[in-house]
């Protein structure tokens, strides 16, 4: 693959990653959010595939396929199942910060992500490390979604957004941290989502709702 094409494709995948993160913040319909999340998984897999092709690494290619299956297939499917069980509550109705303000907040987070990733770029300037800022921004936006959204499912997506961003940073900075650890990380994420999905079901069984405003029993 020529260098120009590599950079083009890398940037494109990063652009989609960023755009999908913003769209999650933007849209209210949970079904759309899940679809956008699946698209982000696709972009992440594409990113890793581009890196694999660039380095000619078969192992990394296999990892890309794994990411595709997990993040564009299994996780969205789990989320959809949770949504199907949710019944009426298909919209994020009252986020703590309204959508317009959270979009502007995301603009600030972008700049923050850019600032934070400066030392990382300085260590080893390359097209891949320059794109780390995108991963950082996705992490920050994910954290923001996690903190400000009230639907259980939106929080779940926020968590996964963070995780996608972290994975992107991981692969952009180095080509992974060893297969055992990577498998462990993926398994942990999958299990965490499964646990949270079961908890949403239980929450509905006990509260009749997944609006986290209902979580008011425990406080000081």
């Amino acid at each position: 693959m020529s260098h120009d094409l590599y950079v083009q494709l890398l940037d494109l995948a990063c652009g989609v990653l960023l755009l999908t993160a913003v769209l999650v913040l933007w849209r209210r319909e949970l079904a759309v959010i899940i679809r956008v999340f699946a698209l982000q998984g696709l972009a992440l897999a594409a990113l890793v595939a581009v890196l694999a092709a660039h380095e000619g690494s078969i192992e990394l290619g296999a990892v890309a396929v794994g990411i595709l299956v997990l993040r564009a297939g299994v996780l969205p499917a789990l989320l959809r199942r949770a949504l199907a069980a949710a019944g009426e509550e298909r919209r994020e109705t009252r986020p703590l910060v309204n959508v317009a303000s959270s979009l502007l907040a995301a603009a600030v987070l972008t700049l923050l992500g850019y600032a934070v990733s400066q030392p990382l770029v300085a260590l080893a300037p390359s097209p891949a490390t320059q794109a780390v800022a995108v991963g950082m921004t996705v992490v920050l936006i994910g954290f923001f979604v996690l903190v400000t959204r009230r639907r259980a499912l939106s929080q779940l997506v926020g968590f996964l957004l963070m995780d996608n961003g972290i994975t992107a940073v991981g692969f952009l900075t180095t080509s992974g941290v060893g297969l055992v650890v990577e498998l462990g990380v993926s398994l942990d994420v999958l299990l965490a989502v499964l646990v949270l999905q079961i908890l949403t079901t239980r929450m509905r069984a006990t509260f009749g709702d997944t609006d986290l405003d209902e979580l008011r029993e425990l406080h000081d």
Partner: protein, 318 residues
């Protein structure tokens, strides 16, 4: 100022001034057909204009010069943009005005003039329309600036002609994230700025929702004709900018008859295509509630900002 620029300027002037009502006609016709109506034909806006221009203009009592001058300012600024922007040729008749900031400022000037006129009438609708328009423009103008600025970063110049030329030389640039993000942001603000669905409905006079129409409610006759005409030209100019910033192919780079002819044809095709897409899209859209509009615009502002940051922090090919 060179020959190409002068010829281009004349051609663009003629095309935009004469053609823009037809563009509106085409868009209305497409919409009518998609909705199962026969439609009035693409010449109808011209016929309307002719009728309006022949009529005497009436100014409401108590209005000042602002009300009378506003349509002229609107038309004048739009015509200047139509002449200098790189629509048919990459060179510009007045090169220093074909600048990102100058063009955006000119377009904003027209909008502000109209908003002032709306306030000047002193009626409830005029004031309401003006205040709504200002709410929208407060987010639209920065977005417009920032998103075109994102494109200009790699060129190193804010001259629109230079941006278009450099895209011509390096076509791969179009699929970069910078372009894509900026394109999405621009589409959204252009829809808002030209008062199309889902931000504003150009074909309604329902007082609860109208924005643009509310401002010009008091105009009649010749003045109304000018305002309508200028709106059509603005729409054409915006679509032309959108088309040439992202898909500049076909634009004339030399002053040969063939190249110029190709430039004119490409411009007409691109703008009409965009117009058709826009009106076809409108059929499937409902108007957004007014207080959801800032959300849409904040989103597009964010996208344009992302485009700028991406143009700084992503690696450039080669």
């Amino acid at each position: 100022m060179n020959a190409l620029g002068v010829i281009g300027g004349v051609l663009q002037f003629v095309l935009v001034v004469a053609g823009s009502p037809f563009l509106v006609g085409v868009m209305r016709q497409v919409r009518a057909r998609l909705e199962g109506r026969a439609g009035a034909g693409i010449g109808q806006p011209w016929r309307d204009l002719r009728k309006l221009l022949r009529k005497e203009s009436i100014t409401p009592r108590g209005t000042s010069e602002v009300f009378r001058i506003a349509p002229l300012v609107l038309v004048a600024t739009t015509v200047v943009v139509a002449i200098v922007a790189p629509f048919v040729t990459t060179a510009s008749a007045v090169d220093s005005v074909a600048d990102l900031f100058a063009v955006v400022a000119l377009l904003a000037l027209g909008t502000v003039a109209l908003a002032l006129a709306g306030l000047d009438t002193g009626t409830a609708f005029g004031g309401m329309g003006a205040s709504r328009e200002m709410t929208i423009i407060a987010l639209v103008e920065p977005t417009l600036l920032v998103s075109i600025f994102a494109l200009s970063v790699r060129v190193g110049s804010t001259n629109l002609g230079a941006i278009v030329t450099s895209t011509l030389q390096d076509p791969a640039r179009v699929i970069s994230p910078v372009s894509l993000l900026a394109a999405v942001a621009l589409v959204v603000v252009i829809i808002a700025e030209t008062g199309r669905l889902p931000v504003d409905n150009p074909s309604t006079h329902l007082e609860l929702t109208m924005v643009h129409e509310a401002m010009i409610l008091e105009y009649a006759g010749r003045d109304l004709g000018l305002v309508e005409w200028a709106s059509a030209m603005r729409l054409t100019a915006f679509l032309g900018l959108l088309a040439n910033l992202f898909v500049p192919w076909g634009i004339a780079t030399a002053a040969t008859p063939v190249a110029l002819l190709a430039g004119v044809a490409a411009f007409v095709i691109k703008v009409v295509l965009l117009g058709v897409l826009l009106s076809a899209g409108e059929v499937f859209l409902a108007k957004l509630r007014l207080f959801r509009v800032p959300e849409l615009l904040a989103g597009s502002f964010l996208l344009s900002l992302l485009a700028v940051t991406a143009s700084f922090f992503l690696a450039q090919p080669h």
